[in-house]
């Protein structure tokens, strides 16, 4: 190779090396740039992976069932909720067709109407009835979405319980409506019957007294006899008008208060004004033995009144706990109904942010037909359900209200079969009795007129009588060992303690004392050996005379037997 050729060759190689050097520099720059891009892509990928993991965890942890199928309709993915909903393990369903989870009829329906709509619109929403592993029907809410590869995404929720809950709410709503009607009729009927019976008893009683004051041949005696007969007929007519209270309004059963409140609120939802909101504080469950229907009526009526009191805007708080909260406000007006206890099974509190109840009207809210609402907008019977609850000895009721702040209803539910004990000093009564030599008949009656007639009749029979208006005082007196009584005659319907309750308590302390119970509703009193006799108002004088005489004989023979022993 000549020098020229060598120089030329070297020149070519130098330029080649130079080009390659520049190419390498460019390549390194390019590689750096690509490496940076790759790094960024890796970071994005890592974020996407994290996101995908979070989504997967969310899907796995979702309470709704989520599943994927391929174009053949076989499950390729499923979260735990989906499999558990149908009673399977995930592995048991992966690779199997969706029809595994449906009965033959539903499979045909889905195949013929759901799938065509799904693949035409890209999605389908609706309900279907699946079949669990053990064959139990499962009502599901379904959301299906078609995938580009011919498969689908299925999101589902078990609404079997919701369906049952809705059905239960409908049944409860109907039962409530019927109970409200029955209660209104019962209240009206018994109020009229009670008042009329008292008047008829007075008419009849005074007619008998007139007869005894006059010779039988006088015109006035004959007229008094006719008055007594007319009164007797009137009494029979009133009795025929009495409306029997439904058994389910008195029965006690075990139930979950939380389920009852939730159902009640779902019913009340239909009449909830849009700007009235619930604040609910309930435990998981709260079992109790009480009267569910009456309690439901109480809650529904309180909630309904609260909606109206809030005039379309406010908050209704519902709290269920073992212990009550404090006062609604320091200076709020308060009333109570029933006997308080040292502890309760559960306490339900409902407080609204309405206009409140005026203090002068608060003590009338439990009166039948009393209403604070405008004319024709309230029957005045709704809160009688609370009175019913107290009559059943199921609860102690407190109502607190303050104008401009709202009203709090507190229903403290008694533990099963609570009995209030009332103590009174009866020493004075006992001292008065020491001078008596005649048989002593104790009259327990809150109606003065009825007590007056009974006293007159009993004294005309030649016995001594003692009238105690308050049954709690009567009970306390009888509980004293020095208190003497030969026969007790008591009304059934009295405030604080009914005649039936009084009888039960007296029998525990003084089983040898005969107790005669009377009522305008005597036909509805269940026979009980505790009662020596059950009399229906108005009571005829002769009948009363015979019954008291028999009772005294019975008491005498009982004492004699005891002495023999």
């Amino acid at each position: 190779m000549t020098q020229d050729e060598s120089d030329k060759r070297i020149g070519i190689l130098e330029r080649k090396v130079d080009r390659e050097h520049r190419a390498r520099v460019e390549a390194e720059k390019l590689l750096e740039s690509k490496a940076a891009e790759l790094q960024k892509a890796n970071e994005i990928l890592a974020l996407e992976v994290q996101k995908a993991r979070s989504l997967t965890a969310a899907i796995e942890g979702a309470t709704d069932g989520i599943a994927l199928t391929n174009s053949q309709g076989n499950y390729t993915f499923m979260n735990g909720s989906h499999a558990q909903m149908f009673g399977y393990e995930i592995d048991e369903l992966i690779g199997r067709p969706w029809s595994t989870l449906y009965g033959p009829t539903e499979t045909v329906r889905i195949g013929n109407s759901v799938m065509p709509a799904l693949f035409q619109n890209g999605y389908w929403r609706g309900e279907a009835t699946g079949k669990t592993k053990d064959g139990t029907p499962l009502v599901q809410e379904l959301a299906l979405t078609a995938l580009p590869d011919g498969g689908l995404v299925c999101a589902t929720r078990d609404i079997t319980q919701r369906r049952k809950g809705l059905m239960r709410a409908r049944e409860m709503e109907m039962a409530l409506q019927k109970a409200e009607r029955d209660a209104a009729l019962y209240t009206l009927g018994t109020a009229v019957a009670h008042d009329f019976n008292n008047l008829i008893a007075a008419i009849s009683g005074y007619a008998v007294l007139i007869q005894s004051d006059l010779p039988a041949t006088t015109k006035a005696h004959i007229r008094a006899t006719r008055i007594e007969k007319a009164a007797s007929q009137a009494s029979a007519i009133v009795r025929s008008l009495e409306i029997e209270r439904m058994d389910d309004a008195r029965s006690f059963e075990s139930f979950d208060l939380v389920a009852m409140i939730t159902t009640g609120l779902s019913i009340a939802e239909a009449i909830r004004p849009p700007n009235v909101h619930f604040e609910i504080d309930l435990p998981q469950t709260a079992n109790i033995v009480s009267n569910e229907l009456t309690l439901s009526r109480c809650l529904f009526n309180i909630v309904k009144n609260a909606f109206e009191a809030m005039n379309g805007d406010g908050t209704l708080k519902i709290r269920l706990s073992k212990t009550p909260t404090g006062l609604l406000a320091d200076d709020c007006a308060r009333i109570s109904l029933g006997a308080p206890a040292s502890e309760y099974a559960w306490v339900i509190e409902l407080s609204d942010t309405g206009k409140g109840i005026a203090e002068d009207k608060l003590d009338k809210i439990f009166d039948p037909f009393f209403s604070t609402k405008p004319k024709f907008q309230g029957s005045g019977l709704g809160l009688l359900s609370l009175v019913n609850l107290v009559e059943l000895e199921a609860a102690f009721i407190e109502v607190m209200s303050k104008g401009g702040t709202g009203t709090l209803f507190r229903i403290s539910l008694h533990k099963p079969r609570h009995f209030a004990r009332v103590q009174h000093d009866t020493a004075n009564l006992a001292r008065q009795q020491k001078s008596l030599t005649k048989p002593l008949i104790l009259i327990v009656e809150d109606e003065h007129m009825m007590a007056d007639i009974l006293t007159s009749n009993i004294e005309s029979f030649g016995y001594a009588s003692l009238w105690i208006e308050d049954p709690r005082i009567a009970l306390n007196s009888i509980s004293q060992s020095e208190f003497r009584v030969d026969v007790v005659i008591t009304d059934l319907s009295m405030p604080n303690l009914s005649g039936a309750e009084l009888t039960q308590k007296v029998k525990k302390m003084r089983p040898d004392v005969p107790i005669i119970l009377y009522s305008g509703r005597a036909g509805f009193i269940a026979p009980d050996p505790a009662y020596f006799a059950i009399l229906r108002k108005p009571i005829s004088t002769d009948h009363l005379r015979r019954v008291i005489a028999d009772a005294l004989d019975f008491a005498g023979s009982t004492k004699a037997n005891r002495n023999d022993l």
Partner: protein, 181 residues
């Protein structure tokens, strides 16, 4: 256009003619890049046109002839790089039919910036006749013809097959070729 094509073209010039001619081509073509190509780079296809024109001028041939020969030179290099894919084909016509639907589809997947031409089989009669269409934004119909010839050689059909351009647009962006065996 991918740098691998430019590197191959330089190698083609050195191999087919000489390092000296390749050096002249790169230093005298007034290239924007100065001829410093790397296989991972991306360059304007105009430089390839400039290079082919230079070679044609100094080798007493036409740019079309240069590009045709370059296509034949390039095919084995590309086939070597895609050896795994090429081994799946035993029929040249099957391969040619799937350039668009399989090869170019995968190229686009791997490199979203790749601008490959469209090679479509317009008709095929077994292994006796096939009509192929080339369509591109770049004027490299003759390079495509050379690549087809390279493919026939790769599948050892170069002695039994006859390739003919039925139609070539004046700007070399569109052409229809027929291969008869």
């Amino acid at each position: 256009m991918k740098g691998i094509v430019f590197c191959a073209f330089v190698s083609f010039a050195e191999t087919r003619w000489s390092e000296e001619l390749a050096d002249q081509m790169l230093t005298q073509s007034d290239l924007e890049t100065g001829g410093a190509y790397t296989s991972v780079g991306q360059y304007s296809h105009d430089e390839l046109t400039q290079l082919s024109k230079y070679l044609a001028k100094y080798t007493s041939s036409t740019p079309d002839q240069v590009m045709n020969e370059f296509g034949q030179f390039l095919f084995p290099l590309l086939a070597e790089q895609a050896d795994a894919v090429m081994k799946t084909y035993t029929s040249c016509f099957d391969f040619l039919c799937e350039i668009e639907t399989v090869i170019h589809r995968d190229v686009r997947r791997l490199d979203t910036t790749a601008q490959v031409p469209m090679i479509t089989a317009l008709s095929r009669e077994g292994d006796s006749r096939i009509v192929l269409e080339y369509r591109s934004a770049r004027p490299f119909a003759m390079m495509a013809q050379g690549l087809f010839l390279g493919a026939l050689s790769y599948f050892r059909m170069d002695r039994v097959a006859n390739l003919k351009a039925l139609e070539v647009s004046s700007d070399n962006t569109h052409a229809i070729f027929e291969i008869l065996t």
